[in-house]
């Protein structure tokens, strides 16, 4: 007879009937009735009305019946807290039952009844159970402490249960130790400050011993706990690693991954020269590969983690490419992850094989997978330079298949290849153009338009091609519209004679018929540019683009380090820190890898103490440098440019007088205030004032308002000082400010506070705090900021350049080892060299000056009479810049070499250096 019969009571008055049965004298009938109740509960019926009757069955010597009643209690106690008290006596009694199974059951269940009133009664039984002679009861009681802590943390502390729990770490029974560790970790996780798990070498030793004896799950608890420990030196780290490595041979994938986590973390402390370091690297590869024969879900977790490991330590799996080849019957999520890892492992040595595989995948039937495979080919081309040609020809082969989505993806990636290797593969443009009609996805259309615009001079019918897109301009997505606008402007600048009409058409479509502010703004900017100074327009629109590199899809190093600490957990699967998906501040501790211990080979020790007193000088306000702004729009502070008759001047401009006298109005200077470091207040401002000029004074020729950025104030964060002068004849009110998206996500951290109305000719100074959490869009130049100030009269648009060092953060000091490794790791083509002239500082002074602007000296060397300063800095968005500053005593100019993964910032960092050093 099976239990399913219990589900089949459907009569009316069921509850009433059950009630009668529950109160029956016959044991058997009682048990049957409880089973029926539980069955009803299982299918979701509300049987809470039977609470007292069920609780009455609790006192029984039948274990099965007891378990069922307990189960019922766990489910309904919360909804009937008053009646739940009725059960307390039995619980307390059961906690003293001679049978350990019943004692454990009672303490386990009590902990699950989340009713405050009950918890008070739980304390005494729990205390006894924690000291029970039977390990089964003790291991259950250990977990119960965590349960109780979750309900009433204060109670647990007051009752001293935490200390008892800590004592259990030294219990003779491995399972008790494991559960105590699990309970403590759980409590510590929700109370990061409690310092519960103050691990020391002795307790670590105990854990490592228990590791050999407890169940697979216990091993995971202990390994996860060990991963939070910070060994005091590299020797201790090594000895822990030695005792953890045998776990890599465990059949349970979760044990293996937790062991990998400990090893990856502690490895950070080992010197790379150590023999052991190499041994460890070798030991890590085989178990990681074996994880790929686990069940698909575990494979998925493993692959997501391997993705991190490959980024952190590529050497571990560099020879294991083949195991990531996709199999026909792999689930799609496994296929996609494998593909991603294949690209990460792609190198010159294995690229031929990888490409052959990718090509194979690109002809499969699963659309998502095929798309990703095509993209992967593009990424390979960008990553492995030697393979670019082969990749391009593979892509062309794929385009020939005429499979619509393959063609579209191929075009998207070819665009990137063009960006990476300019003037190399343009011969394929003709083939691409043949497929113009089949493109129906915005990304592909935009990519194709970009290609046509970029290479307009080589495509005979570029104007026709672009014109064909223009017909349905308003039906296109924003992405395509923006691209089309830019492409046509490029075309116009390259072939002005034939395309005048086209450019007028697109400008008016963008500015007059569109509701999209981005599109309108861009349209206006181009329009104004073209009409004021075509030469400048050319410089701006056709400026050389920074190269793209493979690094763009790498996880940012600090995040990567954090994720390594979370191997095996959800964070490692999402590739997001727990703070991004776990609610509330509770339970979110940022973890970081242990610092590398200084190895003995370092001859010169890096500059340690931060340089003491700040330079006494107060920051001077450097007068606004118009020429900085000049490369943006050539709209500087001077009188309006009276350009030559313009190609577009015949366009009907509607009410907007673009050529009007708006340019003569506004003069202003800007200062940015950098966040002063704790030690060095307020010497940073180094204001590269750049005029905030009103780009579009659309009202009239009368100047109305001037924005200027004045002397910095000492505030804890970045801020912008504005000086607003009302030059109009009318009172100004209702000020508001907005920034356009910009390279570093600068955004006002507070609304613009202009308290009183601004009367004519009155000036007000405002300091606007800034944050760096705004939307990011790469600007040209990088440090360009477009600002809109609104008031009751109109909206005023400004553009300004800010000095980059306002973005240098305080934790920008890189560890020596890391510095060396990173310097080597960044390809030489990313290095930029600059001369800083007229800077008669010695190394000491320069170093301290720079430090006060968050440029940190990592090491100092003297080579042939020259002082070499090795410095690091970090930008608010996590980009690291490494610098080598060579100072020759007696020579007023010094040489600055910069290396950065994003080389486009170098120029601006150099300007920041110059500003700081000469300040």
């Amino acid at each position: 007879m099976t239990d399913s019969k219990y589900f089949t009571t459907t009569k009316k008055g069921e509850i009433f009937e059950l009630k009668a049965e529950l109160n029956s004298d016959k044991k058997e009938k009682k048990k049957e009735a409880v089973k029926k109740v539980i069955a009803s509960m299982t299918v979701g019926k509300d049987v809470s009305a039977l609470f007292p009757d069920v609780v009455n069955c609790m006192q029984t010597d039948n274990l099965e019946l007891k378990k069922l009643v307990y189960l019922y209690l766990m489910n309904y106690a919360k909804s009937q807290p008053d009646m739940a008290i009725m059960a307390v006596n039995t619980f307390v009694k059961d906690c003293e039952d001679p049978n350990p199974l019943i004692r454990a059951l009672a303490v386990r269940t009590m902990g699950c009844i989340r009713v405050d009133k009950i918890t008070e009664y739980l304390c005494e039984p729990l205390r006894k159970c924690l000291k029970d002679e039977d390990p089964y009861v003790r291991k259950t009681a250990a977990v119960c402490v965590a349960k109780l802590h979750d309900i009433n943390a204060q109670l647990v502390e007051d009752q001293g249960f935490l200390d008892t729990l800590k004592d259990l770490i030294s219990d003779s029974n491995p399972m008790v130790v494991a559960n105590a560790v699990a309970a403590l970790s759980e409590i510590a996780e929700s109370h990061p400050s409690s310092n519960l798990l103050d691990l020391n070498p002795q307790s670590i030793n105990k854990l490592l011993t228990a590791l050999n004896e407890c169940t697979e799950w216990g091993q995971i608890f202990i390994l996860d706990c060990l991963a939070n420990y910070m060994p005091k030196d590299d020797r201790e780290a090594q000895s822990i690693c030695e005792r953890v490595t045998p776990r890599l041979s465990h059949a349970n994938s979760a044990v293996v991954l937790s062991a990998v986590k400990v090893l990856m973390k502690f490895m950070e402390m080992l010197s790379k020269d150590l023999d052991y370091y190499g041994t460890l690297l070798k030991k890590l590869a085989p178990p990681l590969v074996t994880l790929l024969s686990a069940e698909p879900e575990l494979q998925y977790v493993a692959l997501r983690n391997i993705n991190l490991i490959v980024q952190k330590r590529p050497e571990i799996l560099k020879h294991e490419m083949k195991v990531f080849f996709v199999k026909y019957n792999d689930p799609i999520y496994v296929k996609l992850e494998k593909l991603d890892i294949m690209i990460r492992l792609a190198s010159q040595a294995n690229i031929a094989q990888v490409l052959a595989e990718l090509k194979e995948y690109a002809t499969e039937v699963d659309v998502d997978f095929v798309r990703k495979a095509v993209r992967a080919i593009g990424r390979c081309a960008i990553k492995v330079e030697q393979s670019a040609e082969r990749c391009v020809s593979t892509l062309l082969d794929l385009i020939q298949t005429k499979v619509n989505y393959v063609v579209q993806e191929a075009i998207v990636v070819i665009k990137d290849i063009f960006r990476k290797y300019p003037n190399k593969y343009e011969s394929v443009i003709a083939t691409l153009c043949e497929n113009l009609d089949s493109l129906d996805e915005p990304e592909a259309r935009a990519a194709m338009i970009w290609i046509v615009g970029e290479y307009a001079e080589r495509i005979d019918n570029a104007d026709e091609l672009l014109e064909s897109f223009l017909e349905g301009f308003h039906d296109e997505s924003t992405q395509v519209q923006l691209q089309l606008l830019t492409a046509i402007v490029k075309l116009f600048l390259k072939k002005p004679t034939e395309t005048q009409e086209l450019v007028q058409q697109v400008l008016s479509l963008a500015t007059q018929d569109s509701d999209n502010p981005d599109l309108r703004d861009r349209g206006y900017i181009y329009w104004r540019l073209l009409s004021t100074d075509p030469v400048a327009a050319k410089e701006v629109v056709l400026a050389e683009k920074p190269l793209i590199s493979e690094e763009t899809d790498l996880i940012e190093p600090t995040l990567l380090d954090e994720l390594i600490c979370y191997i095996g957990t959800l964070a490692s699967v999402y590739h997001k820190p727990p703070s991004a998906f776990v609610e509330g501040g509770r339970g979110v501790v940022h973890k970081s890898l242990p610092p590398r211990t200084a190895s003995s080979e370092s001859a010169e020790s890096p500059e340690t103490a931060p340089t003491g007193a700040p330079p006494g000088e107060q920051p001077d306000v450097i007068p606004a440098q118009g020429d900085l702004l000049g490369d943006l729009l050539n709209l500087d502070l001077g009188p309006p440019v009276s350009g030559p008759p313009l190609a577009t001047s015949s366009v009907q401009m509607g009410a907007v007088d673009l050529l009007g006298g708006g340019l003569d109005s506004l003069i202003g200077g800007t200062n940015f205030v950098a966040p002063p470091t704790a030690a060095v207040p307020a010497n940073l401002g180094a204001p590269i004032g750049s005029g905030l000029s009103d780009l579009f004074d659309l009202t009239s020729g009368v100047g109305t308002l001037s924005g200027s950025y004045v002397a910095p104030k000492a505030v804890g964060s970045i801020s912008m000082d504005l000086q607003l002068t009302n030059k109009a004849l009318q009172v100004m009110t209702d000020f508001a400010i907005q920034f356009n998206r910009n390279s570093f996500g600068l955004a006002p951290a507070a609304p613009l506070q202009v308290h009183a109305p601004l009367s004519p000719n009155q000036t007000v100074e405002i300091s606007l705090p800034l944050s760096t959490v705004g939307s990011v869009m790469k600007m040209e130049p990088l440090n360009n900021l477009q600002v809109a100030v609104k008031n009751n009269i109109d909206v005023f648009y400004f553009s300004t350049l800010y000095p980059l060092h306002i973005l240098f953060v305080e934790d920008g000091k890189m560890d020596r080892q890391m510095f060396l490794a990173t310097w080597k790791d960044i390809p030489n083509e990313n290095e930029a060299q600059f001369q800083i002239r007229d800077c008669p500082l010695n190394a000491e002074a320069a170093s301290s000056k720079l430090q006060s602007s968050n440029i940190f000296t990592v090491a100092k060397r003297n080579v042939e009479g020259q002082d070499m300063l090795y410095q690091s800095l970090k930008l608010t968005n996590g980009i690291w810049v490494l610098a080598e500053l060579r100072i020759q005593p007696g020579n007023p100019s010094c040489t600055l070499s910069l290396k950065c993964r994003a080389p486009e910032v170098s120029q601006h960092v150099y300007q920041a250096y110059e500003t700081i050093l000469k300040n």
Binding site: K67, Y136, E213, S249, L298, V323
Partner: protein, 423 residues
């Protein structure tokens, strides 16, 4: 740290049974699971981890059931999936098959097991043999009030009970090697690996200490016997019972075994071996009329050995009809539900070469959707033979009562994931 609750859902997403372990995620959240799963599937972005707001679902599917764990913390995902699989294993041991029916039929015991398997999100005892000692289906037995926790549960040796007795003490050792192969359409081997497992069937009394000796290259090098024939095991995984630190130290495989069947260890080798059964195929598709298939199979192993139960499955288009076959040996059969022809050869001696031809008609109207190109799969078993050359050199059995026990060894090589891509 781990699961907040575990659910077993039917194929439509309706909860059959559930257990709330931590109470920090509302049980009603499970309602979001199925719609989310369907949505992701449609988007082609299905993954074993789904999230809805602050709740994360970690799920696996077993026959017509979903096992779902919920959490709102940064749980250890690999632990949760391992645990869910372990749960399935335990249920299967208890109910033979795990499906909707068996959950309903045994809901009381399912509740009991869920209570014992995990506590507050921490997996506890998951060894079904031990669980069966104190959670039994014949629940009446328990009424005597004698039921106790078997000390095994919390022992360091948590997988073997004391006091086991056999009349005849024996151990059966099966060395099984599976060959995984992936071959490109143009015939080059992309991936070839051997995954070996050593399975034991233990009928031994008392608490025996076992030591297994293999011709492990690392061990031979350690002990200076590097001239003997040995095998380099790339990665070895052991059952819970094996003393891992001892193995790490001196490569000794020593353990107290569980009673009955279990998998002692598995290993992996990626040494290139000649594919044991090599397939050459020509699949010619004449649109709107026919498909012609020619498959040549060659046994590339020792002449003395014989592969048994060879099954070669060759993909055919899903709209093929009227099959005709010609085989030099064995028989071919069309399996329309899998869109394959299966060519079975009962015994296939090494060094031999066989041929199969198949002919299918195709409808004159071509269907629209493109079909994938599934690979050719091969199944086989070669007894008394290991590809890697691994050997059990000895199995020492020491028990304090001093009985003599006999180890029996059997070797077998079989196909694992054996795929040859077609063009």
């Amino acid at each position: 740290m781990s699961a907040s609750a575990v659910f077993i859902l039917d194929v439509k997403g309706k909860p059959l049974i559930s257990r709330n372990y931590k109470g920090d995620v509302a049980m009603s959240k499970i309602e979001h699971f199925m719609p989310l799963l369907v949505q992701r599937e449609e988007e082609g972005a299905l993954a074993p981890l789904l999230s809805h707001g602050q709740v994360h679902f970690l799920w696996i599917k077993h026959s017509n059931l979903y096992l779902v764990a919920t959490t709102s913390k940064n749980a250890n995902a690999s632990l949760v999936y391992s645990f869910l699989y372990k749960t399935i294993e335990v249920f299967c041991e208890y109910f033979k098959e795990l499906e909707e029916e068996s959950i309903r039929d045994n809901f009381v015991i399912v509740y009991e097991l869920l209570d014992e398997l995990m506590d507050f999100g921490f997996p506890q005892t998951t060894d079904s043999k031990i669980l069966q000692e104190y959670i039994t289906q014949q629940s009446n037995k328990l009424e005597t009030g004698k039921s106790r926790v078997p000390p095994t549960v919390t022992n360091a040796v948590s997988w073997r009970s004391e006091g086991i007795k056999y009349k005849k003490d024996e151990v059966f050792i099966d060395v099984i090697e599976s060959v995984n192969l992936l071959v490109n359409a143009n015939g080059s081997v992309l991936l070839s690996e051997i995954v070996g497992t050593i399975k034991l069937k233990v009928f031994l009394s008392g608490m025996p200490e076992l030591r297994l000796g293999l011709n492990d290259r690392v061990l031979f090098e350690l002990t200076g016997r590097s001239k003997n024939k040995s095998v380099e095991l790339e990665d070895v995984k052991f059952h819970q019972c094996v003393r891992l630190s001892r193995f790490d130290n001196d490569r000794t495989i020593s353990f107290i075994p569980p009673d009955g069947d279990f998998e002692l260890m598995s290993y992996r080798l990626s040494t290139q071996v000649k594919p044991l059964i090599w397939i050459e195929s020509v699949i010619e598709k004449f649109s709107h009329s026919r498909v012609e298939i020619m498959v040549k199979a060659k046994g590339q192993f020792k002449k003395q050995s014989v592969a048994n139960g060879v099954e070669i499955s060759v993909p055919v288009p899903s709209d093929a009809d009227s099959p005709r076959f010609k085989t030099s040996v064995g028989s071919a059969k069309y399996v329309p539900e899998r869109n394959v022809v299966i060519w079975s050869i009962k015994s296939f001696p090494g060094g031999k070469e066989y041929l199969m031809r198949a002919h299918f008609g195709l409808p004159s109207v071509e269907k629209e959707e493109v079909e994938g190109r599934p690979p050719i799969g091969v199944k086989f078993e070669i007894p008394y033979f290991t590809v890697s050359g691994i050997q059990v050199r000895y199995m020492k059995i020491i028990e304090k009562s001093g009985y003599q026990a006999l180890p029996w060894v059997r070797y077998i090589t079989q196909s694992g994931d054996y795929q040859l891509r077609t063009s």
